[in-house]
C-alpha cells in the first residue's frame, strides 16, 4: 500500500515544489499526495479522504485556520492524533520553533527545503524521528 501524505499550503509555488518532492523524489516516487489550497472545512475534508494520511504537512500561515488550529483539530480526533504532523513555514526564529513545539507539532521543515535533503528528512519522519529542520 503506497504511503499517503496530506499537505495544506496556500502558496501555489510551495505546493508545486512539495508535490514534485513527494510524488517524484521521495520514497522512489509513487506516494499518494493530497494537497489542500486552504484550510476551510479542514476536518470535513480530511475525513472525506479515502484513507488516513501517514504524514500530514501543515503550512503555519494559512487561512482561514492557521496551522496551529488545524493541528488542534487533528489532535482532537483519535484517528489522526497518532500520525506525524509536521509544520511547514519560512518563519524560523527560535520563538517560532518553541511555539510549534509547545503546540504539539511532531516536527518542522523550514523553507526553503532542498531536494538534496528532503528525501532523507522524510525517511526519518517516517521512522518516527522528531525532525526540526532549519536550513
Amino acid at each position: 500500500m503506497p504511503i499517503s501524505f496530506l499537505y495544506a499550503e496556500d502558496d501555489p509555488m510551495s505546493r508545486q515544489v512539495m508535490h514534485v518532492m513527494l510524488t517524484k523524489l521521495a520514497l522512489g516516487g509513487g506516494a499518494e499526495v493530497t494537497i489542500f489550497e486552504d484550510s476551510s472545512n479542514f476536518m470535513d475534508r480530511v475525513k472525506a479522504l479515502p484513507k488516513v494520511p501517514d504524514v500530514i504537512f501543515l503550512d503555519v500561515q494559512i487561512t482561514p485556520h492557521t496551522g496551529f488550529e488545524m493541528l488542534k483539530m487533528l489532535r482532537g480526533d483519535t484517528a489522526y492524533d497518532g500520525k506525524p504532523i509536521i509544520a511547514m513555514t519560512a518563519s524560523v526564529t527560535v520563538s517560532d520553533i518553541e511555539d510549534l513545539k509547545k503546540a504539539g507539532f511532531d516536527g518542522l521543515i523550514a523553507k526553503p527545503v532542498r531536494k538534496k535533503v528532503f528525501p532523507e528528512l522524510l525517511d526519518r519522519i517516517l521512522s518516527g524521528d522528531a525532525v526540526w529542520y532549519v536550513p
Binding site: 502558496d11 510551495s14 514534485v20 517524484k24 531536494k115 528528512l121 532549519v134 536550513p135
Partner: protein, 820 residues
C-alpha cells in the same frame, strides 16, 4: 556639686603602721627600758652585796656560837669540878663509894642523893655518875647505870689520869651520842681513886644553838658529830636522830676542821649561805646556815618592787603614749577622714581643729584649701554646665541638622530610586511629617490648563500616615487668605506662625488643629512646579532655620518632580522605541517569510529542471541552471545574514541552546568543506582530536560559525592549504581554521569584525556581504566564547574560536543528527 565631675577616688593605700602604734611602742620602750636596765644593774650589785653580807653574818654567827659552846663547855667543866667541892664529910662519902669495890648501899644512896641534888641544880649535865678506876659505875643519878662498866668506853683510859672531855661519841650500849666530862676523885693522899663523870645535856647545848633574832625563818646553827656525821643538836628543821647521817659541802668542810663559809647546797638540799667551824673540844663541827632566798629576801623584794615599778611605768608610758597619740593622731585622722570625703566628692566636711599646734595650723590650711577647692569646683562646674548646655544645644542643632540631612537624603534617594512621581511625593510628605513631627504636610502641583493655572493637591500626609488627597478640598488660586494660594501667586515663601493673627486666614476645615502654617514654592529655575505646604499644631513652630531646611527639601522635590517628568518622557520614548522594535521584528519575520518562500520555489524548480527530474536537459542548460541555483543560494545566504545581523542589532537574536557534540559539528563542517574545495587547488587538512567534549550551545549557529570561517578560508585562498583543527584545551574547545591565502594587512585588522566592512582583499574577491565574521563573532560571544585571528598580508590567516566547555563530559559515541 555633682558627683560625675569628680575624679574617681584613688585606691587607698592601707596603713601598715599607724602613728598611734608607733608612738605607743616608743613611749612604752622609753618608760620600761631604763627602769629595767637600772633594776637589773642595781639588782646585780645589791644581790652580790647581800650575799657577801649574809655570808659574813653567818661566819660571825658560827664564830660566836662556837665560842659560846666552848665557854659552855668550860663552864660545864667548872661545874663538874664544883660537884666535888663538898664538905669533907660528904666528900668522904663519895670516896667511899669508889674505895671499895662494893660500897654499901647506904653510902651509895647517900651519894646518889647528893649527885641528884647537884644535877637538878644545873642544866649542863643530864647525868652524874661515879665509877671506879676499875671502870665500874658505883653511883649514878640514873640508877640503872649503876654497876655497869665503862672500861671499854673511849674516855675511860684518859679519865684515869686527869680531868677529861670526851667529845661526842656513839654509845654502843645506848646507841646514843654522848659527850662526857670527867674529873678525878682523889683520896687524901692525892691518889686518884675514882672518877666523877657528867654526861653533857645536849638539850642545853641545843638551846645554846637555838635561833635568835636575825636568823629569820630559815637561819639555823647545828652541830655535826665527827663520829657519825649526824646532827647532834636538833636543828630548826630536823630533830636529833643518831641513826641519820647527813652530808653537805659545809658539813664535809667543817668535819675536816676548816673554818670558812660559802654558798652551797645543805643537808636539806636547799641553796644556803653557810659558815662552819670545828669545835675540837667537843669533837663536832658547827654550822650556821641561812637559806639563800631568805638572805636575799631584801634583794628580791627590791626586785619585785622594781618590777612593779617597771610595770607601773609601762602602764604610765602607755597611757602617756596613748594620750600623746590621740592628741597627735586624732586631728590627723580627722584630716584623713575629711580628705577621704573630699576624694569621694563631698567637700562639705571641715576639720575645725581646736589645736594651736602645727597640726592645728595644718587643719586650718586644709580647711582653707577645701574652701578654695569648693569655690574652684563650683566655678568649674558652672563652666562645665555652660559647656554642657552649649554642647547640648549644639547636639540638638546637630541632631536637627542630621534629621534634616536624613530627610533630604531620603528624598534624594527616593528621587533616584522612585521614579513614580505620585509615590515619591507621598513618601516625601510622609517622611517629612514623621521627621519634623508636623501636624500635616501637602504637596500641590501647579498645572496649566486651558482654564489657567490650577493648584492640584498631589500628595498629603498627617500624623497617621499618608492621606487620601481626594478627601481634601482643592485650593482655588483666588482663595482669599489661603497661604497656598498666596504662595502660588507670589512664588514666595509664606509663613503664618500664628493662624489667629491674620484676620483673613483661610483655615482648611479638614485641618482644625493647624496653629502654624508655611507654604514653600517648589521652583525649577523661575518656573513654579508646585507648593510644599506644612502644617503644625504648635503656634510659632516654623523658625527661620527650619524653614531654610524645608526650602532645601522643596528644592529636592523640585528636582524629583523634574526627574519624574523626564523619566515619564523617557519611558514614553522607550515605549515608542520598543514598539518600533516590535514592528521591525515583525517586518523581519515577514520579510524572512516573504523572501524565503519564493526562493524555495526558485531553488527547487531550478534543481528539478537541472537534475532532469522534469525531463532531459543538455549540458549548457545545466550549467546555466547551476548559475541560477548558485545565485539563489547566494541570495539566501544574504537574506540569512541580513536577517541575522538585523536581529543582532535589535537584540532579538536568540540561541536555541542544547547539548552540542562538537565531534559531530566538526564532522558536518568537514563534509561541507570538502564540497567547497572540490573545484579549487586547495589541500584541505583536518587535524581534529578524538573525543571532543559536549558543550552547551546552538547547534545551527555554531555550524554557521565554523562554516563561515571555513568558507572564508577557501574563498581567500587561491591555492594552498586550509587546515581545520579542533582540540580540547584547559578552558574550552579550541577550533581554528588556518589558510595559506592572501592574508589581512595589519591596517585592516580592526575592520575584520565590523559590519558591512570588507577589507580591500575581501572586496576584491567575489561575493560576501561583509556580515559573516561580525555575525560569527556575535554568535561565539553569545556562547561565552572568544574569537580572534592572526594574519598578515600574503601570509595567510588563522582564525580561532574558543568555546567554553559544559563540564568535562565527553561525547558519547556518534549520536549525531545527520543533515542538519
Amino acid at each position: 556639686m555633682s558627683a560625675e565631675v569628680i575624679n574617681a577616688p584613688q585606691q587607698e593605700q592601707p596603713i601598715r603602721i599607724s602613728i598611734g602604734t608607733t608612738l605607743n611602742i616608743y613611749s612604752l620602750a622609753l618608760a620600761v627600758i631604763p627602769v629595767l636596765v637600772v633594776i637589773s644593774v642595781a639588782l646585780g650589785l645589791f644581790g652580790q652585796q647581800a650575799r657577801d653580807q649574809a655570808l659574813s653574818q653567818m661566819k660571825f654567827i658560827a664564830q660566836a656560837r662556837s665560842e659560846e659552846v666552848q665557854r659552855w663547855l668550860e663552864a660545864s667543866q667548872l661545874r663538874l669540878s664544883s660537884v666535888l667541892a663538898l664538905p669533907e664529910r660528904q666528900l668522904v662519902q663519895i670516896r667511899n663509894t669508889v674505895d671499895n669495890q662494893r660500897p654499901n648501899a647506904e653510902t651509895v644512896n647517900l651519894v646518889r642523893g647528893l649527885l641528884q641534888d647537884q644535877l637538878s641544880a644545873q642544866d649542863s649535865f643530864s647525868e652524874f655518875y661515879i665509877y671506879t678506876t676499875g671502870g665500874r659505875i658505883n653511883v649514878s643519878t640514873t640508877t640503872d647505870a649503876e654497876r655497869t662498866q665503862v672500861r671499854d668506853l673511849p674516855y675511860f683510859a684518859p679519865s684515869l689520869t686527869q680531868a677529861y672531855v670526851q667529845p661526842a661519841y656513839l654509845n654502843a650500849e645506848t646507841s646514843e651520842l654522848d659527850a662526857v666530862l670527867t674529873t678525878p676523885i682523889v683520896n687524901l693522899e692525892g691518889q686518884i681513886i675514882g672518877i666523877l663523870a657528867g654526861r653533857l645535856n645536849f638539850d642545853t647545848l641545843a638551846n645554846l644553838l637555838a635561833p635568835t633574832e636575825g636568823f629569820g625563818t630559815t637561819g639555823e646553827t647545828y652541830l655535826v658529830s665527827l663520829e657519825r656525821s649526824n646532827i647532834i643538836t636538833p636543828s630548826r628543821f630536823v630533830d636529833y636522830d643518831p641513826t641519820i647521817t647527813y652530808a653537805s659541802q659545809g658539813i664535809r668542810e667543817a668535819l675536816w676542821g676548816r673554818t670558812s663559809g660559802g654558798f652551797y647546797t645543805n643537808y636539806r638540799q636547799e641553796s644556803v649561805i653557810g659558815a662552819y667551824t670545828w669545835i675540837n673540844s667537843l669533837g663536832t663541827g658547827l654550822l650556821a646556815e641561812i637559806e639563800e632566798e631568805e638572805a636575799l629576801q631584801a634583794v628580791n623584794d627590791v626586785r619585785d618592787v622594781s618590777l612593779v615599778a617597771a610595770l607601773v611605768m609601762a602602764i604610765l608610758g602607755l597611757l602617756v603614749g596613748r594620750f600623746v597619740t590621740r592628741w597627735l593622731t586624732k586631728p590627723i585622722t580627722r584630716l584623713t577622714y575629711i580628705a577621704q570625703f573630699a576624694v569621694r566628692g563631698d567637700y562639705t566636711q571641715r576639720a575645725r581643729l581646736k589645736q594651736f599646734s602645727e597640726i592645728g595650723r595644718l587643719g586650718f590650711a586644709f580647711d582653707t584649701m577645701l574652701d578654695n577647692l569648693v569655690v574652684s569646683i563650683r566655678e568649674r562646674n558652672s563652666r562645665i554646665r555652660e559647656v554642657m548646655e552649649l554642647s547640648a544645644s549644639l547636639e540638638t542643632r546637630v541632631a536637627e541638622r542630621t534629621r534634616d540631612l536624613r530627610v533630604a537624603a531620603d528624598v534624594s534617594r527616593q528621587i533616584t530610586t522612585v521614579l513614580d512621581i505620585d509615590r515619591l511625593l507621598q513618601d516625601v510628605v510622609k517622611s517629612t511629617v514623621e521627621s519634623f513631627k508636623l501636624y500635616a504636610c501637602f504637596i500641590f502641583r501647579i498645572e496649566d490648563t486651558s482654564l489657567g493655572s490650577q493648584i492640584i493637591r498631589a500628595a498629603g500626609a498627617d500624623m497617621t500616615g499618608t492621606v487620601d488627597v481626594e478627601r481634601y478640598l482643592n485650593i482655588e488660586p483666588d482663595t482669599a487668605g489661603s497661604v497656598v494660594a498666596q504662595t502660588a501667586y507670589t512664588a514666595q515663601i509664606v509663613t503664618v506662625n500664628n493662624v489667629s493673627i491674620p484676620l483673613d486666614y483661610y483655615a482648611d476645615p479638614q485641618l482644625p488643629n493647624t496653629r502654624a502654617q508655611v507654604a514653600i514654592p517648589i521652583m525649577l529655575g523661575t518656573r513654579l512646579l508646585g507648593i510644599f505646604d506644612f502644617h503644625s499644631n504648635q503656634t510659632g513652630r516654623f523658625r527661620p532655620e527650619e524653614i531654610s531646611v524645608l526650602t532645601t527639601l522643596a528644592e529636592q522635590v523640585a528636582i524629583a518632580m523634574r526627574n519624574a517628568q523626564l523619566f515619564s518622557q523617557s519611558q514614553a520614548a522607550q515605549k515608542e522605541a520598543e514598539e518600533a522594535n516590535r514592528v521591525k521584528s515583525q517586518f523581519l519575520a515577514n520579510m524572512s517569510h516573504e523572501l524565503r518562500t519564493p526562493l524555495n520555489a526558485i531553488l527547487n524548480f531550478t534543481e528539478f529542471v537541472m537534475d532532469g527530474d522534469l525531463g532531459d536537459v543538455n549540458e549548457e542548460q545545466q550549467d546555466t541552471l547551476q548559475k541560477v541555483v548558485s545565485s539563489g543560494e547566494h541570495l539566501l545566504s544574504l537574506i540569512n545574514d541580513i536577517l541575522d545581523i538585523t536581529k543582532i542589532e535589535v537584540g532579538m537574536l536568540e540561541l536555541f541552546v542544547e547539548d552540542v557534540d562538537i565531534n559531530q559539528s566538526i564532522k558536518a563542517v568537514v563534509s561541507t568543506g570538502k564540497g567547497l574545495v572540490k573545484d579549487k587547488p586547495i589541500d584541505f587538512k583536518i587535524e581534529v582530536e578524538p573525543n571532543l567534549p559536549i558543550i552547551s550551545g546552538d547547534r545551527r549557529r555554531l555550524h554557521q560559525v565554523f562554516l563561515n570561517l571555513l568558507s572564508n578560508a577557501v574563498k581567500f585562498t587561491p591555492n594552498g592549504d586550509v587546515i581545520l583543527s579542533a582540540k580540547r584545551e584547559e578552558d574550552g574547545v579550541h577550533i581554528s581554521v588556518k589558510d595559506s591565502g592572501v592574508g589581512i594587512a595589519p591596517k585592516d585588522h580592526p575592520k575584520v569584525f565590523e559590519r558591512f566592512k570588507q577589507t580591500e582583499s575581501g572586496l576584491r574577491s567575489a561575493g560576501g556581504t561583509g556580515l559573516g565574521l561580525p555575525i560569527s563573532k556575535h554568535f561565539v560571544e553569545a556562547h561565552g566564547g572568544r574569537i580572534w585571528f592572526e594574519s598578515d598580508l600574503g601570509q595567510g590567516s588563522t582564525f580561532h574560536v574558543l568555546l567554553p566547555m559544559k563540564g568535562d563530559r565527553l561525547a558519547e559515541g556518534a549520536l549525531a543528527l545527520e543533515g542538519q
